[in-house]
Assembly symmetry: C3
Homo-oligomer: 468 residues x 3
């Protein structure tokens, strides 16, 4: 019995030790698994946000073609150059200070760190910092590009470079800080703007509105009499298709991760639904009023729906998204008429799309949000907060933009000379026509555009009031 | 000894309890890990299917530009408007009932639930339901857009809106139910159409064939005598490039998940290979017959290869894909001639691309599938089933479409008046020319297109037989 | 006591066995988890690389439109056809032998297996083999497309088909084997070219340089006197936007996996930064020298930045990327002038973009790499290795390309006849004008382009020196 007892003693001891040894790598392994899973999650989050960011970047292409299609051939090179360089100038401004002002720590009004990417952490919101930064500066470029639509066909190219830089540097980021940073005062009050109806679209539209008011109307524009037709409908169509596609990055990418696929799928569907009904309603309204199926109204209607759903896309049902699109289509149709009545020259209809529907989209969160929205029994609290955000953004962006344009006008140059505007900016400022082999109805046969010919440079220098 | 024995007793007990306690969190942890892994898998599946869906959505852009490039400048606004609004109308029809008919439970012929997204579950095929829905309605839009190519340059815009809605509502979904739903009768018989050679392409082509036969040929078309040239080759090129890109969503996205990366990679490669040889064979045939390198044949050849590989892409080897592309290129080249011989006016070559190669692609599964294909020793069973599916889809879609177009013609309007067709649909129905500043050889200088001028509205109203 | 002792014996034994049994599934489960995690990792890697590959494929579209916009309307169909068919011919060459030469095992100079995808493994670099193959052949197509820019407006279409095939078959893959295969001699020496400043861009530019030197200048080109303007700036703009977007696949996709999201994010940011400063610097230089904001310089400047950052994108800081873009912008601006001085006719500026900046980008690794770069205290070793790679690639590609073009010229045909060049390649070789309804300043009204009219075929056959 003694022997047996001893046997059991050693046996149980051996087994226990063995068990513990076996358990130990199991636990270590579980820890390893956890790390692997966390790394995988970060990989998928990063891939998703970056791909969404590529689509947001491609918005520049969309806006470029929409605006190019809607202006006259004599200013197409100019508007393409503006859209192309806008991106780069805004990027520089956003890198220098904008990003820090927007997302850096500081106070409730603006951030005070991370200028020139100085002193940044390795991660933000669980993403590699550079991935977050890339996604955000793709957004910042959209804001100043919206403004270029309202200011088309008469703005000096140098002025465009300057205001794009300033928008990325300080105008867009301050509103962004209020709404999207960790310590923004509007974020604190529960203001919700999921992907930027206010932050991006209303801000861009307000900058542009200040710009067009400072500039005044185009010389050829006669309110209520003639529509100045865009020169190339297929270009405008490419632009719209590309923008719609890009919005599939803009809205669902703002989740900043792929951890909640249900939310992403809802956002994608809502985005598509609002664009769909926006387009249908706007073109049917044009047919109702003019017996013409105005395809540019369909384009602007879909964009209006997209702008409006941008704030509420993660908070509302697909049915609400359809309705938001319907309202956006109505707003954009009559909004275009309103601009005409108010005698504000908006060559591509950017304010009704981004301004009016930026406001409506922001307010629609307070109406349709399934948690807290007025129509879901949430009362007026949320709607009030949303309205406060709209008012606050407007009271900051509009005056500051007026000031900026006044300064550009006073100390530099804002508008091209009348001669240049009449004959087209392309030949005078960019040295080439958009379609040099083809004669448009605006081309003046007596003007030989040849940058190698010194006479043109003389003409250009002569007609440039800055005398450069 | 007794003490020692007691010691071992307590020691072993303590260790066992400790071991069990240590094991317990390990097991709980393992369960947690499982859930994390399942969630991650759903994230990556959703991201993949949604990105593929974005590409499928972008097909609308591709079709729009291909068709715009291949028609004359006087009808470009119209074809862009049709492609743009097609999407939206089909979406509405698919949302209202099409999706429910296609994927809802019901019987072997059609589904009877989920209308207006009513009563849907949270998941389908392991995906968030809305992600699945989005991917599917991007598909539905493709079908009606294909039809617009066959019916180009003479269809009334209102008729286009109506038939697009009906296609999304009931024509496309029924065939889809047979083939892709859980209880479809063709699916039950083992009919295989991986991404829709029949479901999308043949259906769209049959709707369009019924349309062009009901409409009759364009006034200017003289079979065998003149080719009516597309007005803008670069637009057609953009369209083709975009479609080729979009097919990388269309085919591999139909896996509905990223769980089998080997299958996805095979599908991507097969898709590319078939497009490649389709393009090469079609343009070499054009050179062989005409001594001209007809680039529009290269475009249609690549699309023919893409349509043909759509059904078999997941079931065949890359070598078979190359061969399928070769055959598709031959079929599309002679198919275009066949349409001319049969005196069927197909302005963009849509039937040879989507109809003939939709059929060939579906049958090619029965020939080349590595499991069950004729050339792999599978006998004629599979080929027979594939042929049955083609015949069944044709016997449903073609008569129903004829009926639909007859009804539209009888009770509303199908074709624009001759005067509108001759002078171009753009000015009369859409209020703008595609390139208002440029004079094309079809422009009539005596017609001043100005929607503000009431005289035009008179003209348009006068010439519209519906008298609206 | 004895009973109790026995009880403890059995108890401890039972518990141990239970514990072990409980441990076993835990371990099995851990193994299952490992497999699941590994499978998920492969799914995300594959999805990432394939999506990046789709973007790289889309480069063909970008190059096509950039080149189409920069040539004259009489040669647009030709350049679109070349870009479209280039892809397909290079794919065939790469499939036949190029891929095997590049990545197959063999020796330090070239691989000798995997021709026609024969004998391939199921995986490569952890990816499904077909996913790796697809990504790589999307790259191979870019190389030959770059050459078509340098040879635009005078190369016979058949010659283009032949050289594209040869580039994909043997020219591009050999350099690729040296640098990117497991046993390449430059890879062994530590030569670093992350995404192909040398492998893709310098190789393509050298092939094109050999081509343009063999061809001679366009008949209309007078160096230093007139710039032959591109016919369509919006097309060039689309091309540039698409290329910039596509580079977000080209560079970060070259990680071949999503396992290191920090690296991917850095690469994306660096890519964008270099393009940004490249565009700004190049257009400001054009303004400084000509008082014109030359938008085509902005396009080429951004592309120059993208080419330059391609080699170092994973090895340098964002600040270095900004500086690399600045230098690239300077190089491309003066590089265009240098080509003019050297009397080398490069219609789209492809050599300054891809050749000069391909070299600079490769060398910049040796200057700016945070590990081993000259400016980071690494001395001249790395810079020397990078220079060696540039010299080696040049000494192989340039003579072989000269030989190839000499052979094509001697035994077949390289350049179109003078009559065809003057009147435009489109009508003679492709049977259609790019915009058949519109009259450009190059159109000869006396030439009726109608491929059905036999007289044209006569003309074409007569004027073709190959007499086919």
């Amino acid at each position: 019995m003694k022997k047996r007892s001893r046997f059991w003693r050693y046996f149980s001891l051996t087994m226990l030790v063995t068990g513990l040894i076996m358990l130990f790598p199991g636990l270590v392994h579980a820890q390893d698994s956890d790390e692997s899973i966390a790394q995988l999650a970060q990989s998928i989050d990063t891939v998703w946000v970056l791909i969404a960011g590529f689509l947001v970047f491609f918005m520049q292409c969309g806006f470029g073609f929409l605006e190019a299609g809607f202006v006259r051939s004599k200013n197409v090179v100019n508007i393409m150059a503006e859209n192309f360089l806008d991106t780069t100038m805004t990027t520089m401004g956003f890198w220098a200070a904008g990003f820090g002002i927007m997302f850096g720590g500081g106070n409730a009004l603006f951030g005070t760190e991370w200028f020139f990417l100085h002193g940044i952490p390795t991660e933000y919101a669980g993403l590699p910092f550079y991935a977050f930064f890339f996604f955000q500066f793709a957004f910042s470029a959209a804001a100043s590009t919206i403004a270029s639509g309202l200011m088309a066909e008469r703005t000096d190219f140098r002025a465009d470079l300057i205001y794009s830089f300033v928008v990325g540097l300080v105008i867009y980021p301050v509103v962004g800080h209020w709404i999207w940073s960790n310590d923004g005062w509007l974020a604190d009050r529960g203001f919700l703007d999921f992907a930027g109806s206010t932050v991006v679209h209303l801000v861009g539209a307000l900058v542009g509105l200040a710009g067009t008011l400072t500039l005044g109307k185009r010389l050829d524009k006669e309110f209520g009499k003639t529509t100045i037709r865009g020169h190339n409908i297929p270009l405008a169509a490419i632009g719209t298709f590309v923008l719609w596609l890009a919005w599939f990055g803009f809205n669902p990418g703002s989740t900043l991760g792929a951890g909640d696929p249900y939310s992403i799928a809802l956002i994608v569907l809502n985005t598509d639904f609002a664009a769909t009904t926006g387009a249908i309603v706007a073109i049917f309204l044009s047919y109702y009023h003019t017996r013409m199926w105005d395809v540019s109204m369909a384009f602007n209607g879909s964009l209006a729906g997209l702008v409006a759903i941008t704030a509420p896309c993660a908070f509302v049902t697909p049915e609400a998204a359809l309705l938001i699109g319907v309202i956006a289509g109505v707003l954009v149709y009559y909004g275009v008429g309103l601009m005409e009545t108010l005698k504000i020259d908006d060559p591509v209809g950017a304010f009704p799309v981004h301004g009016i529907n930026g406001i409506f989209g922001t307010l629609s969160v307070g109406l349709f949000a399934t948690e807290g929205g007025l129509f879901y029994g949430g009362g007026f609290d949320m709607l009030g907060t949303q309205a406060l955000g709209v008012v606050a953004a407007t009271l900051y962006v509009f005056p500051v933009s007026l000031l900026m344009f006044a300064a550009i006008k006073r100390f530099f140059i804002l508008r091209v000379p009348a001669e240049v505007e009449r004959m087209g900016i392309d030949g005078f400022y960019h040295g080439t026509m958009s379609y040099p082999e083809f004669t448009s109805s605006y081309s003046l046969p007596s003007l030989e555009i040849n940058p190698i010919d010194p006479s043109l440079s003389d003409l250009q220098a002569k007609s440039s009031p800055a005398g450069d």
